[in-house]
Amino acid sequence: MIRLLGILIGFGFVLVATISLVNDSWLYFSEEHEESAEHRFHEHPRNFAFSTDGPFGAFDQQQLQRGFQVYREVCAGCHGINYVAFRNLDELGYNEAEIRKVASEFQVPDINPETGEPATRPGLPADRFPAPYPNEVAARAANNNALPPDLSLIVKARHGGDDYIASLLTGYRNPATYRNHDGEALPAENRPGQGLHFNPYFPNLNLAMPPPLTAGQVQYADGTQASVEQMAQDVSAFLTWTAEPNLQRRHRAGLAVVLFLLFACVLAYFAYKNVWAGAKRAVRATGPLDPENMAKTDAAKRDAGIEG
């Protein structure tokens, strides 16, 4: 009865799914398909070599400091890193005095201790980086109705991570002269509208952020040439740190844990083989080794043609 009912219900589901399949295939094959411009012109992120790549990846403090400098002088005008505190900068190799100095250059929101009115004061190491705008409305008002996202987690919040950020920052192209891999020019309807900028690494090709980096825009303290490529990679490395400050600790701890567990696997393997060595071929009755069980074991071994 259950089987009969099952077969009936089965045919029901198969029928309805088949109707959907036939309908969808009809629609699919009777129409012309043209890949959308977003598909044809969208580029996957370039592959950059970051010091954090791979299982042994670690932070390059020099690069993080350069990236922080780019963030501070270029990005911080519009983008916050609200989950990062000034005190965290010690992981970039800054000493306490330097951190105090950096913090004091930012104004953080507070309350006037005398009047209770909202006020600002210079930041302290315990403060987090303040958001550049007091709220979303202010941010949109200042940016042509676009909202600059907080960058603390941006590397983990985008497919492609650090490669994507660096690709995007270096990926602005002139829409009038751009040709994709097939040598095709950008269709007019996909050209950037008012206040938008063409960038093939951005999923829908046009984004509100104008090209933020120009060569020589920052003066690196360590004398590195501030090319757009260099700054893009430095700031991406910095944003990898803001998104995953424990990355280096994680990789190091992982090495110890994996080595330990490899060793545990070897031990467990030999323990397993050792325990089973006797049972592989010899047949053994379970239970207490009383005469009855021993006799069963012997009989089983005889039947199986095993000695001993």
Partner: protein, 440 residues
């Protein structure tokens, strides 16, 4: 303790005798997972995964309880509290990554455990109750995992909650009221978050309770084995301890190694980038996808695109829940007395098609709802239902199965195949035996 197979426990010391007489816990342990529980000697490594699933649950409970000490179930601060765990709590990043990836590994080992049950006929008599309780655990796991994914209150959390509870909205008449009742509001909100947190904390303990029933029910007939032949005598078994504790120990070490590799080196690989964006009810993500372990079911949901008597969305919902509900009837849909797929050559072919089919469904479920993925998932959905509801019931009547070995020990010794049963070959010197003995 009521396990018909268990050997009599004989305390080795006066102390244990003293305890045993007052609280027979040593007796229970000895009979359940100790030297007193005889287990078929030919179990292969697929029989490790039940223990691994239990360990995975333990990992989830331990990491989850500590995470709950730092997490904040408040729609305004939940996302920030997760970042607080990642940045400021000592080893908080490890706890969170272990919990998030532990969930994935829980599903990986559970899916392999279900795979084992499907191939070796573990759902057949006399183990139907083990199978049914296992499915209850699976459903509870899915509910727990879904609610857990909502807690970080990222974009995928929010929109996943909206889409999944929206499924209940497809039910005629009561749907919308039901959805509002589930969410506690008209869209995922503070009330949704707090109730999901409460249930997410509760359900793992319910799962633990059902696992006890699952193991209890298992200990009545005892474990099945790769031949599917019943245990005939003591020569067919080895005591659970030390043989299977040692074997499970090895499997556990491998499991931990793989889990650690993901936690430490690819902790976000199985997640979705959008969940690092705080929930925003005003911005729909480009594509809403659940966690990977729901993808096959998500593909079935989206495969129904035509209104036929019922609205397409309702068909999708019915089919998605039906794809799991039908598993509850599996023991009766497939009455073939031969349990193991090793001795069912035709079943084996359809079984492997099913496995490929489910993987295809999973692949399509993770893709956006556009062609050709929808058509592929429709094809795969058709096979999924046909397999369980049409092919299996008919096959179990018409299939010519291979002769079974006379006993487990014979199959073990034949050809020195170690623990694995020989693959559907007639036993040496034995008459071909088309049907096995009735189980009980």
């Amino acid at each position: 303790m009521g396990f018909p197979w268990a050997q009599e426990y004989q305390p080795k010391s006066g102390f244990m005798r003293w305890i045993d007489q007052r609280l027979p816990l040593p007796r229970l342990v000895y009979g359940a997972v100790g030297g007193g529980y005889p287990v078929p000697r030919n179990l292969n490594h697929f029989w490790n995964f039940g223990v691994l699933a239990g360990v995975a649950l333990a990992i989830q409970i331990v990491t989850g309880i500590v995470l709950a000490m730092h997490y904040n179930a408040n729609a305004d601060t939940a996302f920030a509290s997760v970042e607080h765990i990642m940045r400021n709590v000592n080893q908080g990043w490890f706890l969170r990554y272990a919990h998030a990836n532990g969930a994935s590994f829980f599903f990986i080992v559970t899916y392999i455990h279900i795979f084992r049950g499907l191939y070796y006929g573990s759902y057949k008599a006399p183990r139907e109750m083990v199978w049914l309780l296992g499915l209850v655990i699976f459903l509870l796991m899915m509910a727990t995992a879904f609610m857990g994914y909502v807690l970080p209150w990222g974009q995928m959390s929010f929109w996943g909650a909206k889409v999944i509870t929206g499924l209940f909205g497809a039910i005629p008449l009561v749907g919308e009221a039901l959805q509002t009742w589930l969410l506690g509001s008209f869209a995922p909100d503070q009330s949704t978050l707090t109730r999901f947190f409460s249930l997410h904390y509760l359900l793992p303990f319910v799962i633990a309770g059902v696992i006890i029933l699952h193991i209890w029910a298992l200990h009545i007939p005892g474990s099945s084995n790769p031949t599917g032949v019943d245990v005939k005598g003591p020569q067919d078994t080895v005591p659970f301890h030390p043989y299977y504790t040692a074997k499970d120990g090895f499997a556990l070490a491998i499991f931990m190694l793989l889990l650690a590799a993901v936690i430490f080196y690819a902790p976000n690989y199985l997640g979705h980038a959008d969940n690092y964006i705080p929930a925003n009810p005003l911005a729909t993500p480009a594509e809403i996808v659940p966690e990977w372990y729901f993808w096959p079911f998500y593909a079935i949901l989206r495969a129904f695109t035509v209104d036929f008597i019922l609205p397409a969305k309702l068909w999708g919902v019915i089919a998605m829940f039906g794809s799991i509900v039908l598993l509850f009837f599996l023991s009766w849909l497939d009455p073939s007395p031969v349990r193991s797929g090793n001795y069912r050559p035709t079943f084996r072919i359809f079984f492997w098609i099913l496995i490929v089919d489910v993987i295809v469904l999973g692949y399509c479920g993770g893709k956006p709802a556009e062609q050709p993925y929808v058509m592929i998932s429709q094809l795969a959905t058709i096979y999924y239902f046909a397999h369980f509801l049409i092919i299996l019931p008919i096959l179990s009547h018409v299939e010519r199965t291979l002769p079974l070995p006379n006993s487990i020990s014979e199959s073990v010794l034949h050809g020195e195949a170690e623990e694995a049963a020989p693959y559907g070959t007639p036993s040496r010197g034995a008459q071909p035996q088309p049907q096995p003995q009735p189980a009980h």
